[in-house]
Amino acid sequence: MVTDPPTTAHPVLELRAVSKVYRVQTTMFNRPRDLRAVDDVSLQLHRGDVLGLVGESGCGKSTLSRLLLGLEAPTSGEVLIDGKPMTGTSIRDRARRIQPIFQDPYASLNPRKTVADIIALPLRVHSIGERSDDAKRVTEMMDRVGLPARMLLNYPNQLSGGQRQRVAIARALVMRPEIIICDEPTSALDVSVQSQILNLLMDLHDEFGLTYLFISHDLSVVQHIASRVAVMYLGRIIEARKSTQLFADPLHPYSKALLDSVLTPEIGMGLPETNLGATFPNPIDPPPGCAFHPRCGHAMQRCHKERPPTLREGSDRVECWLHDDLEAEQTRAVDAQRSTAATPDTV
């Protein structure tokens, strides 16, 4: 650990035991209930990482991304940028370093603005460069994301889905941020366009030295691009490991089920049937013990009552009683590997 090079001393972005609880009114007369959309999540993003985040609809992926963007404050826990708490940084500082790319390019561009205005907005808000240079910077950025300059004055309704997503990417990158939070950036697009956009994102990752949190339903996409993968279930990260390891040998029964279902033919059609029988539980009433136990084929007595130990970032781990013993062993192995090799992506 002493040998870590200075650039990886801090993760560029880190969640420490972060929870987000929403108060929801279920019926008019009941008192409000708590919904733990994100539950005790710890994650680290190192410079250059592509962290894939997968999980079923409603498990809290978008909530997590809003916390990372600083658009919402966590109910408990801490979000840190470069080791400094996010609560201490201004929205504008944060904005210059972290930018989002959203799922639906039909909803993410203001229909009343031209492509030029949309891409130039960050420059104007942050008074970057001379106003007269905006056009140059915008066309430069458009060129980088593969949009011809003749579309400068087009409105979003004049563009295809793929072109719109390129505009959204240009807007996110024009300020040269370090971290991009991609919330299912390809799942609203035609299959033919998906791979173009993915390739573009990966080219830009290398070109600008970006760090990605890449949220996706589509495990095949994640496998393709992510260096690490975190699997989320009911607000908790239940397994987080190197992508190659996780795909070769998933440890958590839920990860296994997800992976098995990848082999079904309809890739890109959202999260496929998991053959898990019981449906996704109501997040307001999560099952006691291990939240996955009603759907788990390996559930034991203690799974019904006791929650498996909380996943801590800093080592590859899994939150499941099956791997309780295995875990300690693995942690030791990883630590050993780290202190000798000191590769930045071992985390």
Partner: protein
């Protein structure tokens, strides 16, 4: 550098503004309504300069002259004269000014109040929304005409008082519609993107939200303008609107009421004028709602 995807028609689709203008021109209601409205506005502005008689000039020797299309009518008074011998066309044209001033003045006040309240409630939600929703309920449970009558009878009627009273009463529909449409946009991804860019709240409200709720605002504006014009006519008819020599259409109908059986034109002329004005405003409003395509919203 990735390749450009060529799978889309780019130059084919017109810009949203131009597309809407094109649809508006092809829409019969908008064309007719806007045309009529334009004629009424032009006549109200320049009409009084084109005729010889003033709206207050009495000529007791020429009382109740019938209009030109009836027996005994003359070009001297194309729309006839009233009981005091005042030229009815002159009064009608001045009355159009009054109605338009009431209409525009009222929606200016009511629109400002309602839009501010509604957008704030829709965007901020929570406590702000609770307060605004409460204000809307209070306003909706207030009998409009009764309150207007009470206030005008206490303070006294004049154009300014009527505009102010109506402006302070007719903001509820603005607030309801602006609240609902802002709420729809509050969590839309381009607004979230603007927040993530670090835009200030006023900037988000004016640049991201307002342009996209404008169509709804225009539709409500037309509805409420027609509403205000009719209410002023009602108040004036009941003697609690603008004060008598002022030629308001409602007042003209009230004054003509006494001789309805013998000189019905005294009522039908201002009545038809009122109908035309309200109808044309409503046609424009309905038309704008129709031609606003989903992708513009």
């Amino acid at each position: 550098m990735a390749a450009v995807d060529h799978n889309a028609p780019v130059e084919a689709a017109p810009s949203p503004h131009r597309a809407m203008l094109r649809r508006a021109l092809a829409h019969g209601g908008v064309t007719i309504g806007a045309g009529l409205l334009l004629i009424i506005i032009v006549m109200a502005v320049i009409g009084p300069f084109l005729i010889a008689h003033g709206p207050y000039d009495q000529d007791l020797t020429a009382r109740l002259v019938p209009p030109i299309w009836m027996e005994g009518g003359s070009w001297e008074h194309p729309f006839g004269t009233d009981q005091l011998g005042r030229d009815y066309l002159a009064r009608l044209l001045y009355g159009a000014r009054i109605s338009l001033m009431i209409g525009f003045g009222t929606v200016f006040i009511a629109g400002t109040i309602g839009t501010v309240l509604g957008v704030a409630a829709g965007y901020f939600g929570g406590r702000v929304d609770m307060v605004v929703t409460f204000l809307i309920s209070v306003r909706l449970s207030t009998p409009l005409v009764l309150v207007a009558l009470a206030v005008v009878s206490i303070v006294g009627g004049s154009l300014q008082v009527v505009v102010l009273v109506l402006g302070l009463l007719l903001w509820d529909r603005f607030a309801v519609v602006m609240r609902a449409s802002t709420m729809q946009l509050r969590a839309i991804e381009y607004v979230t993107a603007a927040r993530a860019i670090g835009c200030s709240t006023p900037r988000i409200l004016t640049r991201e939200i307002m342009p996209n709720v404008m169509n709804n605002l225009i539709v409500v504006t037309t509805l409420e303008m027609a509403h205000a014009i009719l209410l002023e006519a009602v108040l004036s008819f009941l003697g609690l609107g603008v004060k008598p020599p002022t030629p308001s259409w409602g007042l003209m109908i009230a004054e003509g009421r006494e001789v309805l059986l013998f000189e019905p034109w005294l009522i039908t002329i201002p009545g038809l004028a009122l109908l035309t004005l309200v109808l044309s405003i409503n046609l424009v409003g309905d038309g704008i709602r129709d031609v606003t395509s989903p992708e513009d919203r």
